[in-house]
C-alpha cells in the first residue's frame, strides 16, 4: 500500500493542496495587478510592475500546473533558455518604436 502511495506521489509530484495554494496565489497576484492598474504611476514603472508580476504568474503556472518543476532538468534546459533568448532578441525592435513619433513629418 505504501509502495502504491509512493508511486502515485511521484506521478503527481505535488498534492491537490499545493495546487490549490498556487491557484490562490495566482488569484491574489491578479488582484494586485488590477489594483496597480488604477494607481497613477508613470507608464514605464507600471509596465515594469505589471510585466514582473505576469512573469511570476507564468513561472508558477509552468512550474506547478504544467509540471515542469517535477520533470528532469534536461527538459527545462532544452526548451526554455532558447525561448527566453528569442523573446529577448525581439526587444531589438522596440528602440525604433520610441524614435518613430519624433521622425514623423508635421501634418
Amino acid at each position: 500500500m505504501s509502495m502504491h502511495t509512493e508511486e502515485v506521489e511521484q506521478i503527481d509530484g505535488a498534492t491537490a493542496l499545493t495546487f490549490t495554494k498556487v491557484w490562490i496565489i495566482l488569484l491574489a497576484l491578479t488582484g494586485v495587478e488590477v489594483f496597480l492598474g488604477y494607481e497613477q504611476f508613470a507608464t514605464l514603472i507600471m509596465l515594469t510592475a505589471l510585466l514582473g508580476i505576469s512573469i511570476v504568474k507564468a513561472a508558477l503556472i509552468i512550474a506547478y500546473f504544467m509540471h515542469l518543476k517535477f520533470e528532469r532538468l534536461s527538459l527545462f534546459l532544452t526548451l526554455f533558455p532558447m525561448l527566453i533568448f528569442c523573446i529577448i532578441l525581439m526587444l531589438i525592435f522596440l528602440g525604433d518604436a520610441t524614435r518613430i513619433p519624433h521622425m514623423r513629418p508635421p501634418l
Binding site: V8, W23, G37, Y64, F65, M66, C86, F93, A97
Partner: protein, 208 residues
C-alpha cells in the same frame, strides 16, 4: 532484441530517454514553445504600435470591461486548477472523476469565451471599433487588439474542442492518463498567454 540494445546504448546514441517524458508530452512542449513565440511576436507588435503612437486610446471602463476581463482571468485560472485535478484523478485511475473535472474546465473555458464575445460585441456595436478603424483615430488599436485577443480566443475554442474529445473518450475507456496530461499542458498554456494579454492590453488601457 532491438529494445534491449536501445536500453543499453549510451544517451548520446539515443539509447535512453534523455528527458524521461512520453513522446506525446515532448511533442506538445515543442508546440507550446513555438506557439509562445507566435504570441510573443504579436505582443511585441502591439507594444511597438502602442509606443510609436503617443495618442493611443484608453477605452476600457472599470465597468464592464475591466470587471469582465478580471472575471475572465478568474475563469481561466480556475479552469487550470480543475484541469490539474482532472490529471490528478486520471493518474489515480478515477476516469469518471477525471471526466467531471474536464467538464468543469470546459465550463470555465466556455464562460471565458462568452464573456469575451460580449466584450467584443460591445466594442464593435457600441464603440464602433473595427480592425481597421475606430473613433479615436488610431486604427492600429483595433488591428492589434482583435488580432491578439482573437488568436487567443481561437486557442481557447480549439482547447474546448480538444478537451471535449478527450472527455468523451475517457468516459468510454479510451486514452490514458498521459493523453489527459498532454491536453492539460495545452490548456495551461492558453491560461498562461492570457496572464500577459490581460495586463498589457486591458489594464494598461484602462480608463482612469
Amino acid at each position: 532484441m532491438s529494445t534491449q540494445v536501445a536500453a543499453t546504448a549510451s544517451v548520446w546514441e539515443g539509447g535512453r530517454s534523455p528527458y524521461a517524458v512520453n513522446s506525446k508530452k515532448l511533442g506538445m512542449w515543442l508546440f507550446i514553445v513555438s506557439d509562445a513565440l507566435t504570441f510573443t511576436a504579436l505582443l511585441f507588435a502591439y507594444t511597438y504600435s502602442r509606443v510609436s503612437n503617443p495618442d493611443w486610446p484608453k477605452p476600457f471602463d472599470f465597468s464592464p470591461a475591466i470587471i469582465f476581463s478580471t472575471m475572465m482571468s478568474f475563469c481561466l485560472l480556475s479552469s487550470s486548477l480543475t484541469m490539474v485535478m482532472a490529471v490528478h484523478a486520471m493518474n489515480h485511475g478515477r476516469r469518471k472523476a477525471a471526466a467531471g473535472w474536464i467538464l468543469g474546465t470546459m465550463a470555465c473555458g466556455a464562460a471565458f469565451v462568452a464573456l469575451h464575445l460580449t466584450e467584443w460585441i460591445k466594442l464593435i456595436k457600441v464603440e464602433h471599433v473595427t480592425p481597421f478603424s475606430n473613433p479615436w483615430g488610431v486604427p492600429l488599436f483595433g488591428g492589434t487588439f482583435f488580432a491578439l485577443t482573437g488568436l487567443h480566443m481561437t486557442h481557447v475554442i480549439i482547447g474546448l474542442i480538444y478537451l471535449g474529445i478527450i472527455c468523451q473518450a475517457i468516459v468510454r475507456g479510451k486514452f490514458q492518463a498521459i493523453d489527459v496530461e498532454v491536453s492539460g499542458l495545452y490548456w495551461h498554456f492558453v491560461d498562461l498567454v492570457w496572464m500577459f494579454i490581460f495586463p498589457l492590453v486591458y489594464l494598461m488601457s484602462a480608463k482612469v
